[in-house]
């Protein structure tokens, strides 16, 4: 697709542990359109954060990144540092779970936002200060001008996350990768931050990639969702489709394991077992040992992501059979 802002093709990551090389990401194909909100869900270790750290060249020398990451058609994998530096923070910004460890505790927040403005937009002095006030105001920090001289510890966790978002906006990015942006925040503050991210996306036509373990957060804030398991995307669909008609047994399992706030109280259907370590993946489908629908063939080969409905793909041979059967049914009737 040419219309995509960012396009990942066969993205792989291998970590060199010194003794051996462990593959953490097994070929990710994902596209993000302009202004689109894409959710990435999965349990810890599924590779959701590594995907975007790899795409931006932030994994360090121990990681070998393969495949392709294109931003507006320009290749980022293997690109020189100077090219990456014009992308990171400028065209693609990233925010993380814990704002207080992302901010420098010994610098005033005005200076930290000013640094980003100088780097990406060449603003200094009064111009930078005025723009910093505007950004803080935009992310909903009251009395923004006075807050510029505060240190991060003088602000609450929610306000620090707003400061991080303001810094991310400093380069006027085309895409924001938000890695568990509200996980460390209280429920009422999480709601404020998610509303802010939604407003910013709509106002600036900025694409958002929302990485979260919380299915509810992703369901309510994304257009499209990719579910990851053991370094692969196992299902991808428009958000409403994915949560109404999950196709992959892992997605179905995650939804059944989630307690509900309304409706009748039921016993949770837990997924047995645990997520496999990247160095000890089972043969074939990595989810097969925990899957209640697994059969012998599942261990044979890694299932490819196949389209089952427009925009809805799942990587499961059992699902393909089930869909084929439901499609055939009407002819019998």
């Amino acid at each position: 697709m040419n219309g995509a802002l960012v396009s990942l093709r066969g993205l792989t990551v291998d970590f060199d542990t010194g003794r051996r090389v462990v593959r953490a990401l097994h070929g990710i194909d994902l596209e993000v359109g302009r202004g689109e909100a894409v959710g990435l869900v999965g349990e810890s270790g599924s590779g959701k954060s590594v995907t975007w750290l790899a795409a931006l060249g932030l994994l360090g020398p121990r990681a070998r990144v393969g495949g392709s990451v294109r931003l507006d058609g320009a290749e980022l994998v293997g690109a020189p540092v100077r090219t990456l530096e014009r992308v990171r923070g400028k065209r693609i910004a990233m925010i993380f779970q814990d704002p207080s460890s992302s901010l420098n505790p010994v610098h005033r927040i005005g200076r930290q936002i000013g640094e980003a403005l100088g780097l990406h937009r060449g603003l200094t002095g009064q111009a930078a200060r005025a723009e910093a006030v505007r950004l803080l105001d935009r992310v909903g920090i009251p009395a923004a001008a006075r807050r510029l001289d505060d240190y991060p510890h003088q602000l609450s966790g929610g306000q620090n996350q707003r400061v991080m978002i303001a810094m991310a906006l400093a380069g006027e990015p085309e895409m924001l990768v938000a890695d568990e942006p509200t996980t460390a925040l209280d429920a009422t503050i999480q709601a404020q931050i998610l509303r802010l991210l939604g407003d910013l996306r709509r106002d600036g036509n900025m694409a958002i990639v929302l990485i979260s373990h919380d299915l509810g957060v992703v369901a309510e804030n994304c257009d499209r969702v990719a579910v990851m398991y053991a370094g692969r995307i196992v299902e991808q669909a428009p958000a409403s489709d994915l949560f109404d008609r999950p196709r992959h047994p892992y997605t179905q399992g995650l939804l059944d394991a989630l307690p509900d706030l309304e409706g009748p109280r039921r016993r949770l259907a837990a997924i047995p077992g645990t997520v496999p370590e990247p160095s000890r993946l089972p043969p074939g489908c990595a989810f097969a040992p925990r899957c209640h629908r697994a059969e012998a063939a599942c261990a044979g080969a890694v299932p490819a992501l196949r389209m089952l409905a427009p925009g809805h793909g799942a990587a499961c041979i059992r699902t393909e059979i089930a869909v084929a059967q439901t499609v055939r049914e009407p002819t019998y009737a």
Binding site: D186, A187, A191, A219, N221, D260, L261, E262, A270
Partner: protein
């Protein structure tokens, strides 16, 4: 029914210095008059955002910190003086489980020996080592840990398995009460469901009561018979999870419920996004502590602290408007 655990107007105030270590001391009311009763083999959940006093309440209940005012009664008798012989005897029947099982376990001791240790401490003189080991093995099996994992060290187990070990160790002395502070918050969704089901099974099998502390309303609804919502050291609403979460009476509970992102919406809910930050327990506002963030607050809320009183349906609410003591300015949606 006779109560297993009774908290009567519990309070815990700390003196903190404001403005550095030369600043004047001001009281921080972490817990400010909390009363509840917990019957045997039932689960009472304390929910609220960080700083609301739920963990302090748990510590007060176990006598880990002395109350500034109020009292705790366990099995009808006042809690003995902390660190006395009588207190240690009582503490056999009241155990605690924390959020991070790795921090709660000794990294250098196989998990079986850690489960066995409480028996050696409390019944060392009246039991035989082999018998204690058998009981520890049986308990690990009861919490669903496979026998071949018994001699593993904590770091060789997954998060869910570790939390099972912690539960086994808490249960080995056959306690009547387990205080569980965010016991599933660090676990992935699929594992969280396993542990939540285990809580249910253990209660049915051993007749243990849980004081379950969590910030996650969905988890709380899954496990509890009764829920108390805390705000700034006080209970603002208490009742059955069904009543509280489907028809919250306190504006804070309403906002908390509305802030939870959910995958499947059963009914159209209005999104209430509270303004402002979580409050500072040093500067508790006069009147109702929630009034500065309350979307429906009226003049009376700023002047008078609302009492926690029953509504006609039996639940307890501390809100002038819910009790009709003050007329709302306009109909709240």
């Amino acid at each position: 029914m006779t109560a297993l655990l009774e908290a009567d107007a519990l309070a815990r105030h700390y003196a903190v210095r404001q403005g550095g270590w030369l600043g004047h001391r001001v009281p921080l009311r972490a817990v400010d008059g909390v009363s509840f009763r917990l019957a045997p083999a039932r689960t009472l959940a304390l929910v609220g955002e960080s700083g609301c006093g739920k963990t302090t309440t748990a510590k007060l209940v176990l006598g880990l910190i002395p109350p500034s005012a109020g009292a705790v009664r366990f099995e009808g008798a006042p809690l003995p003086k902390p660190n006395s012989a009588a207190w240690r005897a009582a503490r056999q029947k009241m155990q605690m489980v924390y959020q991070d099982p790795l921090g709660a376990l000794d990294r250098r001791v196989p998990v079986l020996h850690q489960v066995e240790e409480p028996l050696a401490i409390h019944h060392g003189r009246t039991s035989v080592a082999a018998e204690r080991r058998d009981r520890a093995r049986a308990m690990l099996e009861a919490v669903g840990l496979q026998p071949h994992l018994a001699m593993r060290y904590p770091h060789e187990l997954s998060g869910g398995q570790r939390q099972r070990v912690v539960l086994a160790r808490a249960l080995i002395l056959e306690p009547a009460l387990i205080v569980a502070d965010e016991p599933v918050s660090a676990l992935d969704v699929s594992i969280q469901a396993q542990v939540l089901n285990l809580f249910e099974d253990l209660q049915a099998r051993f007749g243990v009561a849980f004081l379950f502390i969590s910030h996650d309303l969905k988890v709380v609804r899954q496990v509890s018979h009764e829920v108390a919502v805390m705000y700034l050291g006080r209970i603002v609403e208490q009742g059955s999870p069904e009543a509280l979460f489907t028809d919250p009476a306190h504006p804070y509970t309403r906002a908390l419920v509305a802030a939870i992102p959910v995958v499947r919406r059963h009914s159209a809910r209005t999104r209430i996004v509270l303004e402002g930050d979580p409050p500072n327990p040093i500067a508790v506002p006069p009147g109702c502590p929630f009034h500065p963030r309350c979307p429906v607050a009226v003049a009376a809320c700023r002047a008078e602290v609302p009492a926690l009183k029953p509504l006609p349906d039996g639940r307890l609410v501390a809100c002038h408007l819910a009790h009709g003591e003050a007329a709302p300015l306009r109909r709240a949606a």
